[in-house]
């Protein structure tokens, strides 16, 4: 029987009632945010150097994190999707672990590895690399938390591709690298786009790992979410405005992604 979504296939009346009630719980705070924001002074507030600084830093940190995630994510996704790596399930679990780890735990873990008294900290310091409480540290924390989204998205994208196309390319004499460059990557473009968007969104909102590992130093490690947290105590107006700003960015990404992450709306490759 085909489910037309109408007639016998329609949901019992109780389901939409619960669903809509639940949804309003999510929408009400968002509406409140928009209502409480004082739009008349928004423009001046946005020109506040402290806010501009946080914006700039957030952008730099997130873009760098996305770039690192892409460089690490594709090889990892390729290994997971295309090779018979030993302990593949374990490796995938480890690579995706930060997705389910509380970010603050990630930050503490980073401290234990790269902190002043961490495993690698003294060694890094002896060659002049300081990570805690630096922009590089903030980037590391944000990458730690957001990169798994890239790995997961790219692996799913690779699994969606017809692997036999790569065999076809091999019979035509193409070396592995040529196959990746000319056959795999062009087809993977939509997944790469989705991975970038998801990773960027996650990076932009990162709070816990950053504050634990890199602190909240304006101009160095204080990204937008940290600035919002701080202004909660000092300037509630700008906290609202910055929150709206982040909301708009997230919403934009979600709309751009809609076609890709909503299940069933995924346009699969035509295998003719």
């Amino acid at each position: 029987m085909t489910n037309t979504g109408k007639g016998e296939g329609a949901a019992p009346i109780i389901l939409p009632i619960i669903a809509i009630t639940g949804l309003s719980l999510f929408l009400l705070p968002l509406a409140g945010l928009a209502l409480r924001t004082r739009w008349s002074t928004a423009f001046e507030q946005l020109r506040d150097p402290a806010i501009l600084e946080a914006l700039r830093l957030s952008f730099i940190v997130s873009v760098t994190a996305v770039a690192i995630a892409l460089c690490y994510g594709f090889p990892m996704a390729y290994l997971l999707a295309r090779t018979n790596l030993p302990f593949r399930r374990l490796i995938r679990g480890l690579a995706l672990l930060p997705m389910v780890l509380p970010p603050i735990v990630g930050g503490i873990a980073l401290l234990s590895a790269f902190g002043r008294n961490g495993i690698l900290g003294p060694a890094l310091e002896s060659i002049g690399i300081h990570l805690p409480y630096t922009t590089a540290g903030a980037i590391l924390a944000v990458t730690f938390v957001s990169a798994p989204f890239m790995v997961a998205t790219l692996e799913a994208g690779l699994r969606d591709l017809d692997e036999r196309l790569e065999s076809a390319a091999a019979t035509l004499g193409a070396p592995r690298w040529t196959i990746i460059r000319r056959v795999v990557l062009p087809q993977l473009a939509p997944a790469i786009g989705a991975g970038i968007a998801l990773t960027f969104a996650r990076a932009l909102g990162e709070f816990g790992a950053t504050i634990a590992f890199a602190g909240s130093l304006p101009g160095r490690t204080q990204t937008l979410p940290l600035a919002i947290y701080q202004s909660l105590h000092t300037n509630l107006e700008s906290a609202f405005l910055l929150s709206v700003l982040l909301l708009v960015v997230s919403l934009t990404i979600l709309i751009a992604l809609r076609a890709r992450i909503v299940p069933g709306n995924n346009q699969r490759n035509d295998r003719t």
Binding site: R164, L165, S167, A169, T171, L172, A174, T272
Partner: protein, 368 residues
């Protein structure tokens, strides 16, 4: 530039042991039922699957010897895949030039060679389109041009026309036949279509349950099929049995249609003319083939010179090109070929009872 293949692969319960030789300029077809190992043979030759034992030798190059296998890139084996597997994000021209570029040719040189192949396969007009925009016949020709452009030593066509609609088949078949005629290397065409096999190949290899059971020309296959599948493929009735003598007349006793299970029907005696000298007259295990056109159907018991006559029931009637195929069951299972007019005169429908008769001389007997 001979291909010598002895392909041995074991995979989850399936065991392939296919041995055959193919010569250049003598296009070969590989036919067999589903699951008989055709695609595995193709994958082993292309280097997508590795041998467990045996060897594949192409001219002076060992492609695989069971221990060391050449990777697909270094085999120079062109493959036309069943569902084409064109690169969706590249133009038709880039698809055809892909192999050349992969071998380090400049874009200019690759485009020049690609243009030549596009022209040969009548694709110049669509050179800038992407594969998703192509019709089935066009996509198939692009796949062939792409495989031929690398000038392979061995060309494998895997069901080259299975995905095409009936209207575009003849034109594509002619183009492939032309391309194979001009192709200097060894070619192997996997197919389940008798018309395709006859049009594209000079030799036909029959593979069943992982082993090559017969190799021969289409005419040889028609005259002496050696398995139920081969007989069905060329549309011939095939029996197996033992020669015996009744008086001084040789008779094939215990004749059973090939492929039919022992319990399905008791064996039946088929009268034959004297078999040729190579077959010892008594107790020889033989095949007996009978062309469907040699069978005469009638409503009444025939009073003719035909030595064989059986009362059968019509099981089904299927149209084939220019005639009808009538499947008969009874003491003997037969396929007869009659015209539409004959069917009308006899008023045959499934379930009708008919007498099927054939002359002893129409039965071709050969050693098993």
């Amino acid at each position: 530039m001979t291909l010598r293949a002895d392909i041995r692969i074991r995979r989850d319960g399936f065991s392939l042991a296919a041995m055959f030789i193919a010569e250049p300029g003598e296009p070969c077809a590989l036919i067999g039922p589903n699951g008989s190992g055709k695609s595995t043979v193709a994958a082993a030759l292309a280097g997508i699957l590795r041998l467990d034992a045996g060897s594949v030798q192409l001219f002076d190059k060992t492609l695989d010897n069971g221990r060391r296998a050449l990777c697909p890139q270094r085999r120079n084996v062109g493959v036309v895949f069943q569902d084409r597997l064109l690169f969706p994000k590249m133009s038709v021209r880039d698809n055809v030039g892909f192999g050349l570029r992969a071998r380090g040719q400049s874009r200019h040189d690759a485009d020049k060679t690609a243009s030549k192949w596009l022209d040969r396969l009548d694709l110049t007009a669509i050179a800038d389109k992407r594969p998703p925009q192509l019709s089935g016949g066009q996509a198939q020709r692009v796949a062939i041009a792409r495989a031929l452009a690398i000038e392979p030593d061995l060309l494998i066509l895997d069901e080259p026309m299975a995905a095409l609609d009936p209207e575009s088949k003849p034109a594509v078949r002619r183009l492939i036949a032309q391309a194979l005629d001009d192709f200097p290397g060894v070619s192997l065409c996997i197919t389940h279509d008798p018309v395709e096999a006859r049009a594209l190949a000079r030799r036909i290899a029959v593979i069943e349950a992982g082993a090559i059971v017969q190799v021969g020309s289409s005419a040889q296959l028609q005259r002496t099929p050696r398995s139920a599948f081969a007989a069905a493929f060329v549309g011939i009735n095939l029996f197996q049995g033992v020669i015996s003598c009744s008086g001084d007349k040789p008779v094939v006793l215990d004749a059973r249609r090939c492929g039919q299970h022992e319990d399905a029907a008791p064996p039946v005696a088929i009268r034959i003319a004297s078999p040729d000298q190579s077959i010892a007259p008594d107790r020889s295990e033989v095949f007996a083939s009978l062309h469907p056109r040699a069978i005469i159907l009638g409503r009444d018991k025939p009073q003719t010179s035909a030595r064989n006559a059986h009362r059968c029931a019509v099981e089904s009637i299927d149209p084939i090109e220019g005639a009808l195929r009538v499947s008969l069951t009874g003491p003997i299972t037969l396929t007869a070929e009659i015209t539409d007019a004959a069917r009308a005169d006899l008023d045959l429908t499934p379930g009708s009872t008919v007498w099927a008769s054939f002359k002893a001389t129409e039965v071709h007997v050969y050693r098993r």
